[in-house]
Symmetry: C2
Subunit: 200 residues, 2 copies
DNA sequence: ACCTGGCTGGACTGCACGGTCCAGCGATGT
DNA sequence: ACATCGCTGGACCGTGCAGTCCAGCCAGGT
């Protein structure tokens, strides 16, 4: 639960907090980011943090996860909604590469949060899983349309194929974080498209 | 740096600590596991922890990372050393599936540590990256032999191809952690082998 | 001018955790 | 029997952090 600000000033402050928190959490992880860090980075005070996020850090992390999900989905548009042709998949791949290259730090904000919170915090985990499933759902939807148009080998399961591509993508993101390079993501996306080609 | 125990009893205690710490860290993450947790799970005392790991938690985490690396490499034997035939790659895939299915918790111990520490702790990060590179190196070596035997398309880069397979694998592991199911790993490995087939 | 209420600053509290310290215990060798 | 030394138990300390509390500030309305 978060408190929605009333005035324009309040909206600006809240947004400033979430955006700074998103950056810090991407850089240091949720556990590695203290409320004082966020306070310092935003020129705010403790009371403001709890004013806008009554549930404390937990609420703030939820807000960050939601923001990052929107950001990453937005970065994949318009391809994400039409992943039913070879050109769309290639455009999608390029959009992802461009997005993550422009990001201030290596790695996938959602994936990192998931890896960090899945094991400890069931409530957050559910929200993060939902974000992941929504994301993968776009891939599956496109593949289902391709299967309908008989662009895929008969008997291909769009759900499993989407998981293959999704896994290859997220492995690229994870290793991008490890190796601090864009190369693993390029490789992961390549592997994902190989899996797609394999089913065509 | 760790203190090597002298007596048999000491060796047993140290090993008990590392193994319990490995389980707890896999389950809750390094930051989510306190020394008191480990102390409680092993019926030891603070002084023993610092007796065997003078550098404190940091040393212990290093030891856990080393243990988990050995475990996961061991699980891939004997295939890991002969990844130069189609049969070996399939045996390798099956061995990995069996290993992670038998594990007490979902996810990749090394990958999780990497995701957690890469951003904050450069010292640990270097060690974890080394482990990752060693692992990927086995794949690359096999692929290089395949390229030498002209089993791969001319011009194929074993390094990049190994990264494709490695990324697909690790994406499967990461999502396995998120979705708490073996299915993503199966999908990731499938995608990796698709990439291999694509280069054959 | 005054009031209301959204917003802000910052001191304060309680607690969890990493790390220190020292007083023993117990097996092994002489 | 005694001394040595690896090993063990657990009290203790300092710090960093999430979360609380309250005294203001500053519009906009009347």
């Amino acid at each position: 639960m978060t408190t929605t600000p009333i005035t324009e000033k309040g909206i600006a402050t809240r947004s400033r907090i979430v955006r700074a928190a998103a950056d810090l959490i991407l850089e240091r992880g949720a556990r590695g980011t203290s409320l004082d860090d966020i306070r310092g980075a935003t020129n705010t005070s403790k009371s403001q943090l709890f004013h806008y996020f009554p549930g404390g850090k937990s609420d703030l992390v939820d807000a960050v996860a939601a923001l990052q999900t929107e950001r990453v989905l937005e970065a994949q548009r318009p391809f994400l909604d039409h992943l039913d042709s070879w050109e769309s998949w290639e455009g999608w791949r390029d959009a992802l590469l461009a997005h993550y290259e422009a990001q201030p730090h290596w790695g996938c904000p959602i994936g990192a949060l998931s890896a960090e919170l899945a094991r400890t915090d069931p409530d957050h985990a559910a929200a993060v899983i939902a974000h992941m499933e929504r994301w993968r759902g776009y891939l599956e939807a496109g593949l289902a349309r391709m299967a309908g148009a008989e662009l895929l080998r008969p008997g291909t399961d769009p759900g499993f194929l989407s998981m293959k591509i999704f896994a290859a993508l997220h492995g690229g993101l994870a290793l991008m974080n490890t190796f601090e390079s864009l190369e693993p993501l390029r490789a992961g996306l390549d592997a994902g498209l190989s899996a797609l080609r394999d089913a065509a």
